[in-house]
């Protein structure tokens, strides 16, 4: 990784971070319609133009960024919090509980992740809580497998055996010896998981399953702009470019050595 690409990840994330930070400061209401100004091109009155209902695209985009980032982080916190706890505990305990946890994780992976999220979120009726549950369920097996493999590698090393011989408690060994070694790699995976969660939220928003309108969300904004692609491409291009930049930024960030 050269010095040139080192800052590429954070730089690509900057537009989304600025927008999310500006969201509470913006005066324009993302739900305020002005039908007379429907599909106004970007310009003086509206910095990024308006959508088909004459809502400010800048305000919608800022709030959508807030929603995507928040929900994405929440999904990863839930999935990886539970997954790392389960994975490390399984590696520590060994034997049949470890086998059981791993088989359960494999079973969750027997259906492609997006389909699992789609079915869970769709059947349970949508909304943010259900969406988080669906995405977390799809990410959980990866978190479990990854953290178990990393923890098992550390637990086999001599200093852990030494710590056991000295008589340290399991909690102390896990917190002092195991976690510091596995956390950096897990954080890399978590950055990729946020990227994948953001993509899933957008895909479900695009399909109309997930976060309910009129709460703005990137995928939903893209779907709403699709019928006006010929006359008002900016309605689609603004959320689309923000989505691609942010996900690319997260992927590059995960690639960057600390």
């Amino acid at each position: 990784m050269s010095a040139r690409t080192r800052y590429a990840g954070p730089a690509l994330l900057l537009p989304a971070l600025l927008l999310a930070a500006a969201a509470p400061l913006l005066e324009a209401d993302p739900l305020q319609q002005s039908l007379a100004a429907s599909l106004t091109p970007p310009g003086q009155a509206w910095l990024l133009g308006t959508d088909e209902l004459g809502r400010s695209l800048l305000a919608r985009l800022a709030h959508a960024t807030y929603v995507s980032a928040g929900v994405g982080l929440l999904c990863v916190a839930v999935a990886w919090g539970c997954g790392v706890a389960l994975g490390v505990a399984a590696a520590w305990r060994g034997g049949w509980p470890e086998g059981l946890v791993l088989r359960a994780a494999d079973t969750l992976m027997a259906i492609p992740g997006l389909l699992l999220t789609l079915i869970v979120a769709g059947l349970l009726g949508g909304g943010i809580g259900v969406l988080v549950l669906g995405i977390a369920l799809a990410q959980l097996p990866h978190a479990v497998r990854m953290s178990r493999a990393l923890a098992a590698g550390v637990l086999a090393r001599p200093f852990v055996q030494a710590a056991r011989l000295v008589g340290l408690s399991s909690a102390a060994i896990l917190v002092r010896d195991v976690l510091p070694l596995v956390l950096p790699q897990l954080l890399t995976q978590a950055a990729l998981a946020v990227a994948s969660a953001v993509l899933t939220i957008a895909a479900l928003g695009f399909l109309g399953i997930g976060i309910h309108p009129p709460t703005p969300e990137w995928g939903m904004m893209i779907a709403e702009g699709t019928p006006y692609l010929a006359e008002a491409p900016w309605v689609v291009l603004a959320p689309a470019s923000l989505l691609v930049l942010s996900v690319l930024g997260l992927v590059l960030l995960a690639d960057t050595p600390p």
Binding site: A110, I111, G113, G122
Partner: protein
């Protein structure tokens, strides 16, 4: 061989447990639907003008008066006999709804995956043999860009270019062969980008590894040494990744069929979810799971066939 059969058995068991979970979720969702199902059934049979007797008869006929546990056992038992029930919307058997759509999805998916290989393998091979060259940089950039661009955006950009700007191809529908060009291209590009990158990596490693060096030492030309000793070693990671990416292609169906308005399985699943037509949701989900499971099994077999170390259990499966 023993390892392959044990692996296949484990896969089938996991698939079975997952399908049971999906069926349970669907059963629960069906029972949580508002409204008296016996009344709905009676109206479907006799029209709006019905008495209490007709409703009670419908309730008994459909078994809605039995305990929930018995109804659940009946639901799962029906699945075991491949009875998927009837659509709540069209009243047609779920199997009849699924069947024509399965062929649409399989045809588009098969063509997309074939096109993906045709795109990925030559570029990946070229990039791997000429590392640091222009093709290598282009493959790396394309793989990074496509990893961040969801299928619905790739599709939308293709529509903007080829349907709106140049007016070469129709934007949506499924009437003629021209209609499926953009959906197939969308799925194929998303499949090809990571595949080209892994092909590049696999070729670079296999060509600098011992077998190809040995081929050169015994007097083969670089091309022949690569063909005889490189291709097979490079193929293993490519096949494994292709298998992993099949999941992404399956997920892509849901989005791409909805975007292009193609009457396939994915579009059916999304429509049924939005309309809460739960028997159809269950049927489509189980069928997707089955396709994924079969692909996984085929992949295990392909990797074992390609890699003698796996057959001889020299590496863990």
């Amino acid at each position: 061989m023993g390892g392959l059969i044990a692996g296949a058995f484990a896969r089938l068991l996991q698939l079975g447990v997952m399908m049971f979970a999906v069926a349970t979720l669907c059963f629960a969702a069906l029972h949580a639907l508002p409204g008296d199902k016996a009344l709905q059934l009676a109206i479907a049979r006799h029209g709006e003008d019905i008495g209490d007797a007709a409703i009670e008869r419908a309730r008994r006929d459909a078994g809605f008066d039995r305990p929930v546990v018995v109804q659940f056992a009946d639901w799962i038992g029906g699945l075991a006999r491949l009875e998927l029930g009837h659509s709540l919307l069209s009243r047609k058997p779920v199997a009849a709804e699924l069947e024509p759509r399965l062929w649409v999805t399989l045809r588009i998916g098969g063509l997309a995956i074939a096109l993906g290989f045709v795109l990925a393998l030559p570029f990946g091979l070229w990039a791997g043999l000429r590392r640091g060259g222009a093709v290598d940089s282009a493959v790396a950039a394309a793989a990074a860009l496509f990893s961040a661009t969801p299928a619905f955006l790739v599709g939308l950009l293709l529509v903007m270019l080829f349907a709106i700007q140049f007016r070469w191809l129709p934007a949506a529908g499924h009437a003629t062969a021209a209609h499926v060009v953009l959906p197939i291209a969308t799925l194929a590009l998303g499949f090809a980008a990571p595949l080209a990158r892994v092909t590049r990596q696999a070729v670079a490693e296999a060509w600098s590894a011992f077998p190809v060096t040995f081929g050169r030492l015994k007097g083969l030309s670089p091309a022949r040494a690569g063909l005889r000793h490189g291709v097979r070693n490079a193929a293993i990671p490519v096949v494994m990744l292709a298998g992993l990416r099949f999941a992404a292609v399956l997920e892509g169906f849901v989005v791409v069929e909805t975007l292009f308005n193609i009457p396939g399985l994915g579009e059916l699943l999304v429509r049924a979810l939005i309309a809460r037509d739960i028997p159809v949701v269950q049927g489509a989900a189980l069928l997707f799971g089955l396709i994924y499971g079969v692909i996984g099994l085929a992949l295990d077999a392909a990797c074992t066939a390609l890699d003698p170390r796996r057959r001889l259990r020299l590496v863990p499966a």
